[in-house]
Amino acid sequence: MEFLDYLPQVFTWTNLSILVLGTVGGLILGATPGLSPTMAVALLIPFTFQMAPAPALILLGAVYTATVAGGAVSAILVSIPGAPANIATLLDGFPLAKQGRATEALHYCFISSFIGGAIGVFVLIFFTPVLADVALQFGPSELFWVAVLGVTVIGSLGTTSVLKGLFAGAFGLWISTVGYNPVVGEERFVFSEHLTGGINIIAALIGLFAIPQVLTMLEDSGRSGSVEMFKMEEHKLLASFRANLARVKALIIGTISGVIVGIIPGAGGQIAGLIAYDQTKKFSRSKERFGTGEPEGVIAAESANNAMVGPSLVPLLTLSVPGSPTAAVLLGGLLINGLFPGPDLFTVHAEVTWTFINSLLVAQVFMLVFGLTISRYSRFVTRIPNHVMASAVTVLAVFGTYSVQNSMSDVFVMMTLGTAMYFASKFGFSPAPVVLGVILGPIAETNFLEGKLIAESGDGLMPYFFTGTINVVLVAFCFLSIAYSIFSEVRKIKKQREDTA
């Protein structure tokens, strides 16, 4: 209970105002496509040069927490995930918004983010010593299987047809190999100068989701001249709370997936939401409702990606091994304040460290309060006429993509992928599997190549990838996941035949 001793430190006027600033700013940054949590934290670090260690870390922690949740706002309202972590939120969040339930969806999003996030921080507070070494158990072979487990989810994501989902996923995996590979040190598929840097995940994300959306908006506005994109019902906050807490299963699955993915270094929070979404769907009795506006989908995805935040700091604070890309950037923020990860952090620098961790907890509360406030005004977004919305989204898409790496090449890639996606969507393909392919491709490939190199000088390929408890468990999960998908697909087809017969 050591953390309680330092809890009052958070409640000074300076720290509280920094928390408010960080949370509100983080929510806005998170909602802007292209400004991912990782970038937001990285760009803020120089601003903390002049600050004392505790407020500096509080600011970075608050921004980390709020940007992860903020990314859901644009996912739900305009169908563009603010960051890769919010893809799963979109799958049911946007259909909900289309049905006029945007406020409700945003309520679920922030309530689940709060619950998942708070539990995540408690995991950080109570289980850090126990979990510290777990991170090191994940070598190349284990991470390879984690990525493969992610790939098994691809087929069932957001498409009506498993086959089309697999095609889209395979396309994503293929384009993820474009560019320079750090392990082999070679360039691949670089037939244009613009592809030297490969396909950036954020550029792909924005292009694949935003551009088809823009083109569809223009298509519709020309036809009917409709002023309203979709109507919006008022929704009582209390009802949302009740409905949210009633869906315990989604919350539990989401939070557990988030915590586990957070501790695994290198897996990244990007897949936490997707794995949670997929698991919740598999355990649900009404699978067919997922993708059409099922609140459980939003709840699972958002509780997962916020539950990831706290645990991603466990390996960072103890071993200086970051559990997520954002945590990796946060390491810089710690170092510049003279805080070296390791045992010293909880003894010599206990005051700063615990104040920082406690502030993460308080930041969850602020995130909930301000998030719910923002939800109330979200109806103004949905009242914007289509042609105005389309141009605003285009500007944001180009600006967001360019700002990631200050690269015009990324903008060309974004536009090309987006336009292709628009036509592909006419044939029933959806963007989520493609992006998942782009995210998982490099994780699977680099870890496989690294593992192969290590295995060749050791026991050989098969023993390296198929022995060890974690490997075996992960392989079993992969098989279960595939078997289950085939099973449910066969059952679905049978049912359809019976219905038609």
Binding site: T38, M39, V41, A42, L43, I45, P46, F49, L136, Q137, F138, G139, P140, G179, Y180, P182, V183, V184, G185, E186, E187, T196, G197, G198, N200, P265, G266, L319, S320, V321, P322, A328, V329, L331, G332, L335, I336, N337, G338, F340, P341, G342, P343, Q405, N406, S407, T446, E450, L453, I454, E456, S457, G458
Partner: protein
């Protein structure tokens, strides 16, 4: 309106006259009159970006440049995207500079068809030097570098060594060690130094080359066997021997130098002014304090020293990497 125009014409005339009489110094006198961009070829938050932001933070002070140095990240392909852009597209008016990593960018320019090489870039000054150290896990059977080398001799191809990517300082150190000791290692390149360190901590590889600063921070979980530099590091690791001391011919060619450079064609007066003003800026008390807090070893070097160092590395690396060339 007329008067303004008149004044403008007059000042134009005057500057033309001055420019004729004293052409070069005028350029340098007025420079810089707006912020100067510094391209970093790595992502925000990485070691190079992190250090570049610290060492440039005092630039706006009158005694240094009087204008801020603004960091712009152009990451991709292990730095190639940013440096290619810089060598090809950056304006040579003194308002676009970049951070360099040696031996990384020289090694890349030798192995790949890059648009950059030491011939089209002008060093300004060096701020940091991070030597590579040979590390093994705390539980490893090896207690000295020689034990590891003996094992490698008896078990060819069985020793894996992790490092941050292809053609980085770590890779160069591994190649040098293999050549000097007459053994073969299996190099395991990872994306970034932190990942490479993680492979050693997790016991996935036999040993690793990593940054002195990062290894020092994890020293209670590692054994640091030797340092690839000419002298011991008296401040952080006084007990760790250099390779030369233990009888292995590995010099300081793998030391990761970081500094600022300009594109070729930048006016010489501008380069001279930068070369004069920037080293004291790196040595500002506030900069040193922040760099020390972050555990980032500093080594400030003048333009002339850097030119010599670049040439030396170019010659050495061309020889070392001649078998790996992909051009």
């Amino acid at each position: 309106m007329k008067r303004v125009k008149h004044m403008k014409t007059r000042s134009l005339w005057m500057s033309a006259v001055v420019a004729l009489v004293w052409p070069f110094s005028v350029l340098a006198e007025g420079y810089p009159d707006r912020p100067v961009l510094v391209t970093v070829a790595y992502s925000p938050g990485g070691a190079t970006d992190f250090q570049a932001r610290i060492v440039t933070m005092m630039a706006a002070q009158e005694s240094y440049l009087g204008q801020p140095l603004v960091i712009v990240n152009k990451p991709g392909a292990g730095g190639q995207v940013g440096w290619n852009w810089f060598a090809q597209k950056a304006k040579d008016d003194g308002y676009q500079l970049a951070a360099y990593n040696i031996p990384h960018f020289i090694a890349q320019s030798i192995v790949f068809k890059t648009k950059y090489s030491i011939d089209n870039l002008e060093p300004i000054a060096n701020w940091g030097a991070d030597p590579a150290v040979l590390i093994v896990n705390k539980d490893s059977q090896f207690n000295t570098a020689n034990e590891l080398l003996d094992f490698a001799k008896q078990n060819p191809g069985k020793v894996t060594i992790s490092g941050a990517g292809q053609f980085t300082g770590h890779h160069v150190a591994m190649l040098q060690l293999a050549k000097a000791a007459g053994v073969t290692f299996k190099y395991i390149p990872t994306k970034g130094g932190v990942k490479a360190l993680q492979r050693v901590l997790g016991g996935d590889v036999t040993a690793g080359f990593n940054n002195l600063s990062d290894s020092y921070r994890s020293r209670d979980k590692l054994k640091i066997l030797a340092i690839a530099d000419l002298e011991r590091d008296k401040e952080f690791l006084p007990d760790v021997p250099t390779f030369k001391e233990i009888g292995v011919d590995v010099d300081n060619s793998s030391v990761n130098f970081r500094g600022i450079m300009a594109p070729k064609g930048t006016p010489p007066e501008v380069i001279n002014k930068l070369a004069m003003k920037i080293p004291p800026m790196f040595q500002d008390k506030k900069v040193i304090k922040k760099m020390q807090a972050g555990g980032s070893p500093m080594r400030v070097m003048s333009r002339d020293d850097v030119i010599a160092m670049w040439k030396e590395r170019q010659a050495y690396l061309t020889d070392l990497l001649k078998d790996l060339k992909k051009k």
